[in-house]
């Protein structure tokens, strides 16, 4: 075998090597491969196909990614055939790579991943979205760290109409943001490390983020969910924008745009105007109150018993705002859902109701009138039962009397003790599962200057209070509600340690 090929296959080492040695060896291997690439660039570029046949991307991921990097830097990959070949190498790698090896040399992986979605056009957008999503989840199956790659790929997928491909990515809850100085003393090859310990600016698995990138990610995620009619997830994503941390009276344009959409999505989701969470900054609240007023009025009119108010507000908002803010379709959907929510809310009043009475008691916000026929009501109710928004069934008596809607009632009795205890256990496990997340955050914050100042201040205050004979104020997550002030206290609610 060609010694150069053997060198490419020299890493990873056999099983049994500890994390420290694994990391050291990986760095030495990178050096060796760099030398080969430097010396035999021509050989690599000309015989890439033969070389990569011997370098399995799932096994020799580090070597493979370095070869790919070399190929990407080579001129002459512009021909159609060469282009397709390189794309197939990259796809093969991104779908199979060994995440442990990649952690040891993040910068190269980041460059290669970036090539999959940047304007070089190696992949069509649909493939790029799928491959990059798979690669990101391969690196961090929990998907809890936001990277620059997330932001770019989600934007690309939304702009090119490939939302489906990125859904597995945007469904994951983002908890951590990459920052400098996040690495721990443990080597990144340690597979027990929490994601933020190996995906950060030091390991270069992500480029630096800005607040607008984070906001844009949540905002576009919201738009993706809106496109898929997944209202709860859309609402949550937009709410993350609306409540985004701000200081010194800051509020961004994305936040106000998100607020407007958040109101519309809230109406579609619950049939009621949503309430701003406590965590919304005071400055944002003031700005939303002014800039989002037309949407708020529309939401209030949605609760009115007649469609006329809603139509009037829609006309006002349509002429001034909807077009500019790209909310026309969403607002029209709100109008279309007005009558549906009226019917759903009938479950709080009726156990059975004739379709004729539904026709009389509800109005379409598209026409401002009740539906013209009972058949149209029948069709609407049927569609609501089918899509699961209405728990009921249409009964058609055989004696010729008119059809009616019977709402399915909730169980009359509460849960048994056993059922309740099982559900509580499940919820408790969910809360206990937060422990690693809290630990990871604590570790991360331990090196944060502000946090240390805060902790010292807290300890000092506690000592002073004790001295004065006052009872120390309790803190921690046991507090049921959180209140964010204008200048958000970074560490409020964290247990002192």
């Amino acid at each position: 075998m060609d010694p150069r090929l053997a060198a490419l296959q020299a890493f990873p080492p056999a099983d049994g090597v500890d994390d420290n040695n694994y990391y050291k060896e990986s760095q030495e291997h990178v050096k060796r491969v760099r030398e080969i690439i430097k010396k035999d660039t021509q050989w690599i570029r000309e015989s890439a196909g033969d070389i990569l046949k011997h370098v399995n991307p799932a096994v020799y991921s580090l070597s493979y990614v370095m070869v790919l990097e070399c190929l990407l830097q080579a001129p002459g990959w512009n021909t159609q055939q060469a282009h397709e070949t390189l794309a197939s190498y990259m796809a093969e790698f991104l779908l199979q790579f060994d995440a442990r090896q990649i952690r040891c040399k993040g910068s190269i992986w980041s460059d290669v991943l970036k090539a999959a979605y940047d304007d070089r056009g190696l992949f069509p957008a649909s493939v790029a979205a799928e491959v990059v999503t798979a690669a990101l989840l391969r690196l961090d199956p929990s998907g809890s760290v936001l990277t620059s790659h997330h932001c770019h790929i989600v934007e690309l997928a939304y702009n090119t109409g490939n939302v489906e491909a990125v859904l597995p990515l945007i469904e994951k809850p983002i908890i951590y943001m990459p920052a400098k100085g996040m690495s721990t003393s443990q080597p990144v090859s340690d597979m027990s490390l929490p994601p933020p310990a190996y995906i950060n600016l030091d390991t270069e698995l992500t480029y630096a983020l800005t607040s607008s990138m984070v906001l844009q990610y949540d905002f576009i995620s919201g738009l993706c969910f809106i496109e898929r009619r997944r209202w709860q997830q859309a609402f949550d994503a937009l709410e993350r924008c609306v409540t985004y941390p701000a200081r010194d009276g800051g509020c961004s344009k994305i936040m106000t745009e998100a607020y407007n959409k958040w109101i519309l999505v809230g109406l579609l989701l619950t049939g009621q105007p949503p309430t701003l969470p406590d965590t919304t900054s005071q400055a944002a609240k003031k700005i939303f109150a002014i800039q989002g007023k037309p949407y708020k009025l529309l939401a209030q009119a949605f609760q009115s018993n007649t469609a006329a108010d809603l139509i009037r507000e829609f006309e006002v908002i349509n002429s001034e705002h909807l077009q500019n803010e790209a909310n026309v379709e969403l607002a029209k959907l709100v109008l279309a859902h007005y009558q549906r929510w009226q019917i759903i809310n009938m479950r709080n009043i009726y156990t059975t109701i004739s379709l004729e009475k539904i026709r009389e008691r509800t109005q379409s916000a598209e026409t401002g009138q009740p539906l013209s026929t009972v058949e149209a009501v029948d069709q609407l109710v049927q569609s609501m039962i089918v899509d699961g928004s209405l728990q009921g069934e249409i009964a058609r008596p055989t004696d010729g009397s008119p059809a009616f809607l019977a709402f399915l009632s909730a169980p009359a009795q509460g849960m048994s003790e056993v059922e309740f205890s099982a559900k509580m256990n499940k919820v408790a496990q969910g809360i206990m599962a937060l422990q690693p997340v809290i630990e990871a955050t604590n570790k991360r914050l331990a090196s944060n200057r502000e946090y240390i100042n805060h902790t010292i201040r807290r300890q000092f205050d506690a000592a002073r209070e004790q001295k004065l004979g006052m009872q120390s104020v309790g803190g921690g997550f046991e507090e049921s509600s959180f209140h964010i002030e204008e200048e958000e206290d970074l560490m409020s609610g964290l247990p002192a340690h």
Partner: protein, 455 residues
């Protein structure tokens, strides 16, 4: 209806006024005998502008009442209204001589009282100064200059020498505030000037009852119905009506207290605070139908209660303080009756309910629909089988769902908080420009690094 009356009441209706066409059950002369002072004219004039059958009699009485006093404007108003309704009545002609004489008399009295007061002030006799202000205040009140009257009464305060005198000033101020329907001022003066702690002293007891009635009227005006109900209910029947007859009569106490209690108290409270309350029972003796209505309600015969009240609706619409609230109070009593009626049943046929509560409003199903939608009744209508099914609150189930929801939110909140901390720790918050944000939230507060809009 006669042509003049028709035109008169059409105009009132067009202005949003209430017009009562039914003949009330009370006798106007007996009714007005219960009152003293300026409230007599006010009540007569109100009835004259509201009741079609009593309009002429009431306005004629109002003209006479005004002429027996010193308020020229009131006289003119009453004559003007009577002229529109019954131009042929002798009282409908404006007595210009009386007006001229009265105006001259008023001028002289004002000058005389002002000079007298000035004299007291020059002599620095506190008691005389206080009385001078009081005389002047009463004079202004009598001629209808309430603003100046209030000023004069207010000026009595620095010269008071006893708690009784302070309470008297309070009563004068309260009387004027009630006439002006300035309910907040009534409450203010009650708390500032009228405090009677000692019930054994007849004077204090009288003051306490006056205070309760005034507070009841003010609370009613501010739609604080429950507070108003308790105020009336705890007025003492031992206190002679002359103590409070310039603002209300004992019959009013029974009616206001009874209606407000029916609208705001449950059956046990009605029993304890009204039927078992010796003092209030005495008031109720003057209005036996209110006592009957309360008894029927307490005994669970809601339809009978509503029927009694409905028959007295025209009477209550003629009351100066009650008129505005009759519709709401009746609706509340009806709602409460329906809710109480349904309590013991798991299912009631709509037909039965229609019979029991056949009111002037919409059909019972529509009424129940509105009540459930507004959250006043926890029940479901079975529109096909024409029945209503009350829903009893299962505390255990409520607790279970509340607990599960709370824990679910806890997890969500905790994750959100951690995410926010990580954003802040990574220095990724949106930063504003500081103080300017508070002054100009739109421009000053907007961050500059993310102007990109996503469509």
């Amino acid at each position: 209806m006669e042509r003049n009356k028709l035109a008169y009441f059409t105009a009132i209706e067009n202005q949003g006024g209430v017009v009562v066409r039914e003949t009330p059950k009370f006798d106007l002369d007996l009714y007005i005998q219960n009152y003293k002072g300026r409230t007599r004219w006010e009540r007569l004039y109100h009835i004259g502008r509201t009741s079609v059958p009593l309009c002429v009699d009431a306005l004629k009485a109002a003209v006479q009442e005004a002429k027996s006093g010193s308020d020229v404007m009131r006289y003119k108003y009453a004559v003007d209204s009577l002229r529109q309704v019954a131009p042929d009545e002798p009282e409908a002609l404006l007595d210009q001589d009386w007006i001229d004489t009265k105006n001259k008399e008023i001028r002289n009295t004002t000058e005389h009282l002002q000079a007298e007061l000035q004299g007291y002030k020059n002599n620095l006799i506190k008691e005389s100064i206080r009385m001078g202000h009081e005389d002047l205040g009463k004079h202004y009140e009598a001629i209808g200059d309430l603003e100046t009257a209030m000023d004069s009464y207010w000026k009595m305060r620095p010269d008071v020498s006893s708690a009784d005198q302070l309470a008297d000033i309070g009563k004068l101020l309260i009387r004027i505030a009630i006439e002006r329907h300035d309910w907040k001022t009534v409450s203010n003066h009650l708390s500032k000037h009228v405090n009677a702690a000692n019930d054994s002293d007849p004077k204090a007891k009288a003051l306490r009852t006056y205070s309760k009635i005034a507070n009841g009227i003010a609370s009613l005006g501010q739609e604080r119905y429950r507070e108003a109900a308790f105020s009336f209910v705890w007025a003492s029947a031992d206190v002679p009506p002359s103590v409070y007859d310039k603002i209300a009569s004992p019959n009013d106490v029974a009616i206001y207290g009874g209606l407000l209690a029916l609208a705001t108290m449950d059956r046990n409270e009605l029993q304890t605070n009204l039927l078992d309350n010796d003092s209030f029972r005495e008031f109720l003796q003057r209005e036996p139908h209110i006592r009957r209505a309360i008894t029927q309600f307490v005994n669970g015969r809601y339809a009978a209660c509503i029927e009694i009240l409905e028959s007295y609706r025209p009477d209550y619409l003629l009351d100066i303080y009650l008129q505005k609230h009759v519709h709401k109070l009746y609706a509340d009593i009806r709602t409460k009756s329906i809710v109480q009626y349904l309590k013991p049943f798991s299912c009631v046929r709509l037909e039965t309910m229609q019979k029991a509560f056949n009111g002037p409003g919409p059909s019972i199903e529509d009424e129940l629909f509105m009540m459930i939608r507004e959250g006043k009744l926890n029940a479901r209508i079975d529109s096909i089988n024409k029945s209503i099914l009350p829903i009893s609150v299962d505390s255990r189930q409520k607790m279970q769902s509340a607990t599960l929801e709370r824990f679910g939110n806890y997890e969500k909140q905790a994750l959100d908080r951690i995410r926010r901390m990580n954003i802040i720790a990574a220095d990724l918050e949106v930063k504003g420009t500081g103080k300017t944000a508070a002054m100009n939230p739109i421009q000053g507060g907007m961050a500059v690094d993310d102007s990109a809009a996503v469509a």
